[in-house]
């Protein structure tokens, strides 16, 4: 395809009312729309982000580091990491298994299965927490049995992990299913024909092909796992230093009017979000690069 240069350089034929390309808007329209778009984004995205850091540093760096280094704050960081370290790998295994059976085989009810995998995205976070209370809570299905055997799930760490897992369960599967469907199974067939067993085929052929998609899913899954608030809030019981994740700790500090503390912990989460966005952009870029290379080789 011929490259059409749509630069702002002066056109070689400066006719009055020179025809624009059909897909090109006049300059004033471009400026106006770009201005509206950037204004909207500045107002709704950049301003809140700036507010987090601005409020966190309002009393200076000393107060900021004191708030971040607080024992309860550190305990909440630890719990958030634990919850993510369990739920993200669990959902990676689930995502890979789901994508494998959906992309590599044809069977009845496949589209229903895909819809079911998406289901947690349609459920309000609060309801995601509520359903676990209904199963494991004192009045729930398993409540009496759990009390009898002295197992705490709700208002304890296992409940937080379960609610986080529920909320983040579709992320990896959603990225991998379309990717593996598009890639097809020819390379796996070749590996099997050449004598590889199933696991060898997966580790040596499939995994290298899906690594960028997998990483992308992991980044999104992790960001949500560390930031989940509503679902975790219902099952946590808000015990300081014990069942408080970082987002819950932000809420507690905020409700105690400890604004610098709340925004300091919030700023850690905001940094995490920004790091996730940067990593995500790099992965997108690498993936596009790898695809372009694969296409060049194919030609």
């Amino acid at each position: 395809m011929a490259v059409v240069v749509t630069s702002t350089l002066v056109k070689p034929r400066p006719l009055a009312g020179a025809p624009l390309r059909a897909t090109q808007d006049p300059r004033w329209v471009r400026w106006l729309l770009t201005g509206i778009a950037l204004g909207f984004l500045a107002f709704f995205l950049v301003l809140p982000l700036a507010a987090v850091f601005g409020e966190a540093l309002r009393r200076g760096l000393g107060a900021y580091f004191a708030a971040v280094g607080d024992a309860d704050a550190l305990a909440s960081v630890k719990l958030t990491l634990i919850a993510a370290l369990i739920s993200v790998p669990a959902n990676v295994v689930f995502g890979v298994a789901a994508a494998w059976c959906i992309a590599k085989y044809s069977f009845r009810g496949k589209s229903l299965l895909i819809t079911l995998i998406d289901l947690p995205f349609a459920v309000s976070p609060v309801i995601s927490g509520l359903i676990y209370v209904l199963v494991f809570g004192a009045q729930g299905w398993l409540g009496p049995w759990l009390i009898e055997h002295d197992v705490k799930i709700i208002f304890a760490v296992p409940g937080i992990v379960l609610a986080t897992t529920f909320v983040t369960c579709p992320f990896v599967a959603r990225e991998l299913i379309p990717l593996m469907q598009a890639q097809g199974s020819e390379e796996e067939y070749a590996a099997i024909t050449l004598g590889a067993n199933g696991w060898q085929t997966f580790w040596r052929v499939t995994l290298p092909n899906i690594k960028w998609g997998l990483l992308y899913g992991v980044i999104l899954c992790n960001a949500r796992a560390m930031g989940e608030f509503g679902a975790v809030s219902v099952v946590s019981g808000h015990i300081r230093g014990e069942t408080n994740t970082m987002p819950l700790h932000v809420e507690i500090l905020y409700n105690e009017y400890n604004f610098v503390g709340a925004f300091a912990v919030a700023s850690l989460l905001a940094v995490l979000a920004l790091v996730s966005l940067v990593l995500k952009s790099i992965v997108e870029w690498r993936h596009a690069h790898a695809q372009a290379q694969a296409q060049a080789h194919a030609c």
Partner: protein, 277 residues
């Protein structure tokens, strides 16, 4: 057909992967979700209506639906402009802006909530300039709308972007060569092409806003009958150990969300067929 089956059975692991997927999905998602429906199945109809349709709950439904609807509409309008600008125009810093679109997905909702409150509260960054003029945003319905707009922002942009990128320039050139002006090209040629994606983005944004909790509770003020959203009401009932009441409201919301999910799937199926023709 038999050939297809044979071809597919060459790869091992079907039983293992499908079995694991179904077991995991069943234990983590389906069994807990069914608990909500079974809990309400044990209630009498009158109890259910009393719990899920009391005046306070009805006021919360109204606020949640209306604020979500307005937020999704605003996102559809501005999202279309943002997607158009990002795909069609060049400007410095475009890649950063593009990456930043996903911020509401990555930023924890509680963080968004306190940040928006810090901006719009009475002595906040913007609030201190707005309140003297009688414009109150935090602790009103407008605050709820602002929070829901923030969290729904990426959906429309991200569903429209790939469709805009795939759009063939030829169809616009054809329209122009047949005598359409730019405005007619946009209204009669481009918008119908973009409409299914726009509708999908709108529905996704609306569905997300309906269930949103974290970003809203801080800025809404949570006044019963006025600025109380449905998810907050569920939490309030839970804190009062009214599990049946909470579950009854949750079932209404779940039904609404599943209906929306079905609608989104239908829109996408319809648009795929529309594109193939």
């Amino acid at each position: 057909m038999s050939l297809l089956r044979k071809q597919h059975s060459v790869l091992p692991g079907f039983g293992l992967s499908l079995g694991f997927t179904l077991a995991y999905l069943g234990l983590i998602v389906l069994v807990p979700l069914s608990a909500a429906f079974l809990k309400t199945a044990g209630m009498s109809w009158a109890d259910f209506v009393a719990a899920a349709a009391s005046p306070r709950v009805l006021a919360a439904y109204r606020l949640s639906f209306l604020a979500s609807l307005v937020a999704a509409s605003v996102n559809a309008f501005f999202g279309l402009i943002v997607a158009w600008v990002l795909v069609r125009y060049a400007f410095p810093g475009k890649r950063i802006v593009d990456a930043l679109i996903d911020l509401p997905f990555a930023l924890p909702t509680a963080v968004a909530g306190i940040a928006l409150t810090a901006i719009y509260a009475k002595n906040g960054w913007l609030g201190q300039w707005l309140e003297p003029h009688g414009v109150k945003i935090a602790f009103t319905e407008i605050g709820v709308f602002v929070a829901l707009t923030f969290i729904g922002l990426p959906f429309v942009v991200r569903t429209l972007q790939p469709v805009l990128e795939e759009l063939q320039p030829e169809i616009e050139e054809a329209a122009v060569s047949l005598g359409a002006n730019r405005w007619q090209t946009i209204a009669r040629v481009l918008l119908p092409e973009l409409f299914p994606a726009l509708l999908t983005g709108f529905a996704l944004s609306f569905a997300r806003a309906l269930g949103e909790y974290g970003s809203v509770v801080f800025i809404s003020g949570n006044m019963p009958m006025r600025t109380e959203i449905v998810p907050l009401l569920i939490i309030t009932k839970l804190e009062q150990y009214d599990y049946r009441g909470a579950t009854a409201i949750a079932v209404v919301m779940l039904t609404a969300s599943f209906g929306l999910l079905l609608l989104i799937n239908l829109i996408q199926k319809w648009s795929r067929r529309h594109h193939r023709v």
